[in-house]
Symmetry: C2
Amino acid sequence: MAMGRPREFDADAALDQAMEVFWRHGYEGATIAQLTEAMGINPPSLYAAFGNKEGLLKAALDRYTAKRAAWMEGVLSAPSARDVAERMLMGTADSQTDPDNPPGCLLVQGGLACGTGSENVPFELAARRALTEDQLRERFVRAKQEGDLKQTADAAALARYLSAVSAGMGVMASSGADREALRQVANVSVKVFEEQSTT
Amino acid sequence: MAMGRPREFDADAALDQAMEVFWRHGYEGATIAQLTEAMGINPPSLYAAFGNKEGLLKAALDRYTAKRAAWMEGVLSAPSARDVAERMLMGTADSQTDPDNPPGCLLVQGGLACGTGSENVPFELAARRALTEDQLRERFVRAKQEGDLKQTADAAALARYLSAVSAGMGVMASSGADREALRQVANVSVKVFEEQSTT
DNA sequence: CCATATCTGTAGTGAGCACTACAGATATGG
DNA sequence: CCATATCTGTAGTGCTCACTACAGATATGG
């Protein structure tokens, strides 16, 4: 019963471009004109595929987190809480200063505060940041069970701490901090875990 | 030779209101209509007094940092590097969750990424964040001279670390983290300084 | 009291925004 | 080959934005 004209652009490739625009300019700072130009399509194609600007952001965020999932698995698979923290923060330092991407982290750069009508966006970003924190907390609970983290350690507090440091590094990266500066922060931050470790 | 009609509103009180709007909605999210309503004035008065929206932001930032200067002096006057860090982070946790202010920190909430035409704003905020970091670094250099911080400690790295943690706490506060959560982060963060102290 | 300089309020202005109507193009199902 | 369903490109739409022209108000200096 007639399938209609097929889409001519690659949705994932277009999302990669949209992701970069949101990353660099934030949700409110990114305009549809910039997005469509980067994606190589016209507005009607964008709206047909993603609904509206916020729908496009969500799709781009999904792709962002999906890409990071593999990396995050590598982080969580480190043998100890201390090594989890080190991989997490060093990887964050490197990815936030990767010249292939805009500086910082999309989940921070995307928008902490938005104007009327976009109040949803900060929540959307925060929810995705919280997912990483949850994974870290569970990993630290396991570390206590496995004995490489002190029984007195607070898994939730340590996860929150790592989450805060990562976000803070994102803020610094977005304002021009270089890789070496972020690695310094990561090195200092990891010391907390050495003190909380049993080894 | 004729001084003209005097201003009818209190510029500082108006700036306090503008500050809050920028804080809550970010630079781009804040509209002139919201600002003028909060300030209790009309657009021509705003433009006569502050030039344009960016000029108003700078004036609000000046007032923000001026208000914090006294608090910052109290932080820096703590007797040791470790106590500086504790006062800094605990004070940050409290002020970022003070119900009298919007959550988070204006210097982070104001805008990390902006659209075309406002590229200056993120730099403006970053420059003011950097001032605090400079003060901390100098304080830690002094702490090394005074001997309460190890000679092997890196004053610049520690200052950067505190700056990153504060910014990260601001991100968390803006997405709803409560005071207790931020204090946990502060408590964990301070441990780094205990390890770097001579006592 | 007058001339002048500055502020205030009303009522816009052009520009840029997210979003879309519509017509033509291109595929599938029969 | 035809009917249909979906995509694409052009060319807008109404709306909101930062910003301002202008006229009336209110102070000072002489």
